[in-house]
């Protein structure tokens, strides 16, 4: 169970995440929605410890993850697998190696530096790829794949980590409709089959409604809605999407319409 309490992160004098308190019982499929700049990405990066908060606490099964260092910190990051909008694979490395990066901790470190991973690990990586229908591309360079395929490889890497939590930061924002559908279906499958909590940042309400059971709405760093999808009424949407300065809304809408 993941618990976040009073979490705050500032960049200069801008407060990206503002006193956020949330708890996630195991097995939920959660959407985090809000305008860009609402603090969704920062929230997930804080949970993975890619960024450190200015105040507050993050606890997993009762113990804080903020004090972790070295090996323990790397283990936590592996438990809280991240999926990114831009996939963040190593484009010049082959797909299999990219997936194996999720199991670096299980390989002898010196051998791993030369991409010499033990056979059982390689076999597992192929199985993870196969679960996402990407086993055929195992020896291709990751950079030669389409966006949707790269995101599936990134999901395979995340699963290779044997995570307890999946944090997906706008996983479909760079994908076409068909691939977006595919990626969301895979995330839902992971949630269903393994009972892993999946937290997905989304900017389209429709996707959140279709795939998730719980929705968290953020605006200007604060949580302004937290509840079941059915509870998303006009008042809630107003709080999520129209909060903050009115001209910010204008500047946000203009490029979206184009």
């Amino acid at each position: 169970m993941l618990e976040i309490e009073g979490l705050t992160k500032r960049f200069g004098d801008k407060v990206a995440v503002d006193d956020v308190t949330l708890s996630f019982p195991p097995g939920q499929m959660v959407a985090v929605i809000g305008r860009s700049g609402a603090g969704k990405s920062t929230l997930l990066r804080l949970v993975n410890r890619l960024a450190d908060p200015d105040a507050g606490d993050i606890r997993w099964d009762g113990s804080s993850v903020l004090r972790l260092k070295g090996r323990a910190l790397r283990d936590w990051r592996r438990n809280a697998a991240m999926i990114f909008q831009q996939f963040h694979l190593a484009p010049r490395l082959d797909v299999l190696t990219n997936v194996l990066l999720g199991a670096l901790h299980e390989a002898p470190p010196h051998a791993a530096m030369f991409k010499a991973f033990p056979r059982p690990l390689r076999a597992r990586a192929i199985l993870e790829l196969d679960a996402l229908d990407m086993a055929d591309a195992a020896l291709q360079r990751a950079g030669t794949l389409s966006g949707g395929q790269q995101q599936r490889v990134a999901i395979a890497r995340a699963m290779m980590q044997s995570p307890k939590l999946v944090l997906a930061d706008e996983p479909i924002a760079s994908l076409d409709v068909e691939n977006a559908e595919r990626v969301m279906a895979e995330l839902a499958r992971i949630n269903r089959e393994f009972g892993i909590t999946v937290i997905v940042n989304l900017h389209t309400l429709e996707t959140a409604r279709r795939w998730c059971t719980r929705v968290i709405g953020m605006a200007a760093g604060k949580v302004v809605f937290d509840g079941p999808v059915a509870g998303l009424d006009d008042a809630a949407l107003d709080r999520i999407y129209r909060a903050g300065r009115p001209h910010a809304v204008m500047s946000e809408r203009a490029p979206a319409a184009a």
Binding site: N48, L50, R74, D75, W76, R77, R78, A81, M82, F84, Q86, F87, H88, L89, A90, P91, R92, L93, T97, L101, G102, L104, H105, P109, A112, M113, A154, R157, A158, Q161
Partner: protein, 279 residues
């Protein structure tokens, strides 16, 4: 109405031209020190370097005046010295490269969060770049004795100086995304460099290293003049004994050597970045 940005640019251009003009004046670039006919003197020098080849005796043995063998009278010795020069350049570049990769990972902003370490390393690279190769070679030849050892150390130091800057900047230019990808998956510092940074920057580093190999080759040829090993000593000897045709012969060997290395390095680079690969 001219924008402030444009006015600033124009102002800087005027300042720059002023400084340039002043420099030309101070350096006496267009002054009277070049009295006489410099081009005629260059021509005369080239004339003296041209060997007296006799058409009927081109392929005769080395005792016959006017033959190739007579011109290249110690050809095998020069070739051996040229090969020593190539070896010096390769060893210096490889040593310099390996040392630089280690140091640059500690000097790059995205890999070393602790500022003072970066600052010290960057100043250290600057210091290395400032020392002229030839001074270093003279000191090292005095310390280690005449021979390639002094040359190799000189080239290694010079290489670390220039790689220090180039590699650090290449590392800093790496996209943060793939590094975040490895970090978020629980990869440590070495894993982040190996799988996040290295695949991105390696082609760049190899290109720099191959360019530096050529520079080191030319430098290695010159370093021999002060006794730091390689073919330079033959150049020096030819000038001392005013054997200008020998000078040209040795020079031709050096040029051939540089061309060979250049063509090889181009092939290596293309292979690495996959030019002409069918896939």
């Amino acid at each position: 109405m001219i924008s402030a940005g444009r006015r600033n640019t124009a102002l800087w251009l005027i300042v720059f031209l002023g400084v340039l003009g002043w420099s030309v004046h101070v350096s006496d670039l267009l002054g009277a020190a070049t009295a006489g006919d410099p081009f005629a003197r260059i021509g005369a020098f080239i004339g003296r370097m041209t060997p007296d080849l006799r058409f009927d005796a081109l392929f005769a043995d080395r005792t016959t005046q006017g033959s190739f063998a007579y011109w290249f009278y110690d050809g095998d010795k020069w070739l051996a010295a040229a090969i020593e020069t190539v070896e010096m350049a390769i060893v210096g570049t490889v040593f310099g490269g390996v040392i630089s990769i280690g140091l640059c990972c500690l000097a790059a902003r995205n890999l070393m969060p602790f500022g003072p370490v970066r600052w010290v390393l960057k100043r250290f690279f600057e210091a290395l770049r400032t020392v002229p190769d030839i001074i270093l070679a003279i000191v090292l030849a005095a310390a280690f004795g005449v021979g390639p050892m002094a040359g190799v150390i000189t080239l290694t130091i010079a290489t670390v100086g220039s790689f220090g800057k180039l590699f650090t900047e290449a590392l800093e230019a790496a996209e943060p995304g793939p590094v975040d990808g490895v970090r978020a998956a629980g990869g440590g510092w070495f894993a982040q460099i190996r799988f996040g940074v290295a695949p991105q920057v390696l082609p760049n580093l190899v290109a720099y290293a191959l360019l530096r190999l050529e520079i080191n080759l030319a430098a290695a040829a010159a370093l021999g003049i002060v006794g730091a090993g390689g073919i330079g000593i033959e150049l020096e000897r030819a000038i001392t004994y005013t054997e200008f045709d020998t000078y040209l012969a040795v020079l031709l060997i050096i040029i051939a050597m540089i061309m060979t290395i250049d063509m090889t390095s181009e092939a290596i680079r293309h292979r690495l970045i996959g030019v002409g690969n069918k896939r």
